[in-house]
Each structure stands twice: as C-alpha cells, then as structure tokens.
C-alpha cells in the first residue's frame, strides 16, 4: 500500500493550510525584518550608511591602519583589520538587524540595521 493512499483529501487541505500558516508566520515573527542598511562607524562617528542592496567595499582608516569592509546584497562583513585579535573579522558575515562587528583597536564598527530597531540584549 503506497503512502500517498493514506492521505485523505482533507489531509491535503490541512497540510496546505499549515504550510501557509508557516509561511505567513515568517514575516510576523521575524521582527526587524531583513537587513536593510549597514552603518559603518569610525571613532564613534558615522563614517558611512549603506543600503544593503549594492556590492561595495569600504576602506576605513583608524589609528592602526585601514579596516576593509565589504558590503553585499543583504549582508556585510569586515574583510581585514589591522587589530591583533581579529575578532571582528572572525565574526564573518552579518545578516540580521542588530548584529554588529566591532574592531575596537582600530576604532571601527559595522552594524546592521533593519526597518525597526532591535535590541541586541535585554537584562532584567
């Protein structure tokens, strides 16, 4: 007996409706939406605000040298940094609103922003 024969007409309906609910739940629950912009800061001041629609590279100068930042559609990352521990480089691609990579030694940071502001942590 084939597995398909076990599914009754209403079952297909339930499956279809459930799939629709799952699909509809994605924009409802993933608040902040998709990554919209990348904000690059140097010494705390905004160096550039880029729409995450283009493919572009930025060279940001700091006290140690040049931090190279790559922006691609929907994501951004620090490509290289003169800092000793390379934390911001190792973070890799940033894709979600609120994500941030900080190259503290070179005083450069890159943050992803969405439509709505999200918190990166809340404590009680």
């Amino acid at each position: 007996m084939s597995w398909l024969a076990l599914i009754r007409p209403g079952d297909w309906l339930v499956m279809l409706l459930s799939a629709a609910v799952v699909g509809a739940s994605i924009p409802v629950f993933w608040v902040g939406g998709l990554a919209d912009r990348a904000i690059i800061r140097q010494e705390g001041k905004v160096f550039a605000e880029v729409d995450l629609k283009v493919r572009k590279q930025f060279e940001v100068g700091g006290p140690l040298g040049t931090t190279l930042i790559a922006v691609e559609p929907g994501r951004a990352r620090v490509v290289s940094d003169p800092g000793p521990r390379q934390y911001c480089v190792k973070q890799g691609w940033l894709m979600r609103p609120g994500e941030i990579a900080i190259c503290a030694p070179n005083r450069v940071s890159i943050q992803i922003a969405g439509r709505t502001k999200v918190y990166d942590s809340i404590s009680y």
Binding site: L13, V14, M15, S25, I26, F29, W30
Partner: protein
C-alpha cells in the same frame, strides 16, 4: 500482626493502557536519543502511539497513555518536575485537547495525518506559550516560531503517515 490485604484488580483495559504506555515511553526514549539541531525540534515519535490509541480505543485511553508516557518518560530521562517536564505536560495537554476536538472531523475526509499535524501545532504552541509565560518572559521566544511551526508540519505529517499505516493494518488480537 494483621496483614492488610489490598486487592488491586487489574482489568484488561489497565493492561492495555500499560502496554501502550510502554510503547509510547520506548518511543520517547528513541526521540531523546535522536540528535536535534535545536531544543524543541523533536520528531515526537510517541505521538504515533497516541494517534493509534485514539483511533482504536478512544480519547480516554489516549489521555491515560499520554499522561503515563509523560510521567514515566520524564522519570527515565531524569527531567521529572524540571522545566522540560512542564513543557512536555503543557504540550501534551494541549495536543490531547486538540485531538479531542479534531477527532470529530469527518473521517472520510480527515485522516490521522490531519490529526497529527493539528496535534503537533497544538503541542509546540502550548510549549511556546508556557516558555513565554514562565521560562523566558520575553517576546524573543517567538523568534523561532517559524522554525518550530515548520518542524511541526514536517514531523506531524510523517508521524501521521506512520500512524495511518499502522491503522490500515488489522487490530492486533488482545493478548493478556
């Protein structure tokens, strides 16, 4: 010294519930052994037993089997009265209530697959609400809802198919 005699009469129904609950507990253990990419995403194989019991022996027996499964499963896996136990209990309660309603759907159109999917959604819904209300009082809990809902759909369908397959075979003769 008088010996008190407590006579426990065991009915055939009791034996049946015990056997079915054992099967459900066994599947819970298998469930726990399967590595999960995310806490909360589990196949929920024990629900196959619940579905079969519901169709063969009715809702009351299904409640008994599920309650015993949650209790014995948590004791065996060592999370009795831990948060996981209450999550499990809430999920099971809600999915049993859903099954209680959904089993009145016309059987010609809606089979075990529908029941399984609805129960899976009720299960994860209950767990998310309890987690939000008690364990993690922050809306961030709901961030993973789409993932959980998708898992409920996939595993609900698979479990429902397995239950339908089992129900398509003739009922086993009652062994004592």
């Amino acid at each position: 010294m008088t010996r008190s005699v407590i006579e426990l009469t065991v009915t055939a129904e009791d034996r049946r519930v015990a056997w079915l609950a054992t099967a459900a507990v066994g599947l819970s253990l298998v469930d726990a052994a399967i590595p999960s990419p995310l806490p909360g995403v589990k196949p929920g194989l024990a629900n196959i037993v619940t579905l079969v019991v519901l169709a063969r022996y009715g809702w009351g027996t299904a409640v008994w089997v599920s309650a015993l499964r949650v209790l014995a499963g948590s004791l065996l896996l060592g999370y009795f009265l831990a948060p996981g136990f209450f999550l499990s209990l809430t999920g099971t309660t809600l999915s049993l209530l859903t099954l209680g309603l959904a089993r009145h759907l016309p059987a010609r159109w809606f089979g075990p697959v529908s029941l399984s999917i609805l129960a899976a959604f009720a299960h994860i819904g209950g767990q998310l609400l309890l987690a939000r209300a008690w364990l993690i009082p922050h809306d961030g809990v709901f961030l993973l809802t789409p993932v959980f809902a998708a898992a409920a759909l996939v595993f609900g369908t698979i479990n429902g198919l397995i239950a339908a397959k089992l129900l398509a075979e003739p009922a086993p003769t009652e062994a004592a």
